[in-house]
Amino acid sequence: MRLHYPSSVKIVRVPCTGKVDVIHILRAFEKGADGVYVVGCEEGSCQYTSGNFRARKRVEQVKHLLDGIGIGGERAQMFNLSSGEGPRFAKFAVEMDERIRKLGPNPIKIRSAEKKTAA
């Protein structure tokens, strides 16, 4: 299909979104990601029954934590699609790219850079 999606998106492949834990998402932010989103199978069609539900719960936890520490929960998001839906995959990427550009860079990344310059 040769669909285009923003080059800002780095894909981390996992066997199932159920593998993605809270700490993985937080680490990504700690390392400077401006946003993190998880794309799982459609709800109800998980090969492992509940992997994508677990992922959704964990993304919710992350949003809550990001709000609590002042980074903003809207930088994390859960999406669902089925494996044949390439165009939707691209649409999510565009949607997230636009949302994060509006929010601006992850403040953690800026602070880390400042710290390095100061040192």
Partner: protein, 222 residues
């Protein structure tokens, strides 16, 4: 096990915001099982706090460690060599662990990172419910193995009260009536006639009422 729940991140931030070197100390026992204060939760909290302080422009060192238990001298000794490096320890153990750590490391502030809730069981993933209030003199033999002290909202020893409705407690439709459970179980055991035995006035001196409690065992003391 001892069931604990996470404290809100805002409350934790408020309690640690003045410190520059913090150790987050998890516990491998009960709080790990109830997903409130084990190694995993230590990692998550450490990451969140690191980002919080960085975002505030503060240079705060946050380390992570999880002990086998915080309610035993031996395991708490494992941090003796490093404890002086920290201005505060945020303990994710139950209230017992927090206090035992504080007693051992007298000059270091030890802050609680969880709310200790009750003695209970994992009924299902994400649902823990109370089973025991450690009253110190167990009556389960007389109540079909179901505890009215911990599970009846009025801890009636001769229940149920008039508020029992369709198996539920008057305080909430989410709470089972302990006495309905007791009666159902007595019936299943073929012992419903035992219901009419009046439970005598309880000696609560072995409960919280008697003051801080001790178990002294000469047979095992060294």
């Amino acid at each position: 096990m001892i069931v604990a729940d996470k404290k809100p991140i805002e409350e934790i931030i408020e309690s640690v915001k003045e410190f520059k070197k913090i150790l987050i100390l998890g516990c491998n026992e009960c709080v790990t099982v109830c997903e409130a204060g084990g190694k995993k939760e230590v990692g998550i909290l450490a990451s969140a706090l690191r980002m919080f302080f960085l975002n505030q422009g503060k240079d705060v060192k946050i380390d992570e460690q999880t002990l086998e238990r915080q309610c035993d001298h031996e395991y708490l000794e494992e941090i003796r060599d490093v404890v002086d490096q920290y201005e505060a320890i945020l303990s994710l153990a139950c209230g017992v662990g927090v206090q035992f750590t504080a007693e051992k490391y007298h000059s270091t502030p030890i802050l609680p990172g969880v709310n200790t809730c009750f003695l209970g069981a994992t009924e299902q993933r994400g649902l823990w419910t109370e089973r025991c209030q450690a009253c110190g003199s167990c009556i389960l033999a007389f109540t079909g193995g179901i505890c009215p002290v911990s599970r009846c909202a009025k801890r009636l020893l001769n229940g149920p009260c008039g508020g029992s409705s369709k198996g539920k407690c008057e305080i909430s439709k989410d709470v089972d009536c302990a006495w309905q459970l007791i009666i159902d179980r007595l019936k299943a055991l073929g012992k419903l006639d035992e219901y009419e035995k009046v439970q005598p006035i309880k000696n609560w001196s072995t409960d919280r009422a008697g003051g801080p409690r001790r178990v002294v065992r000469e047979d095992v003391a060294l």
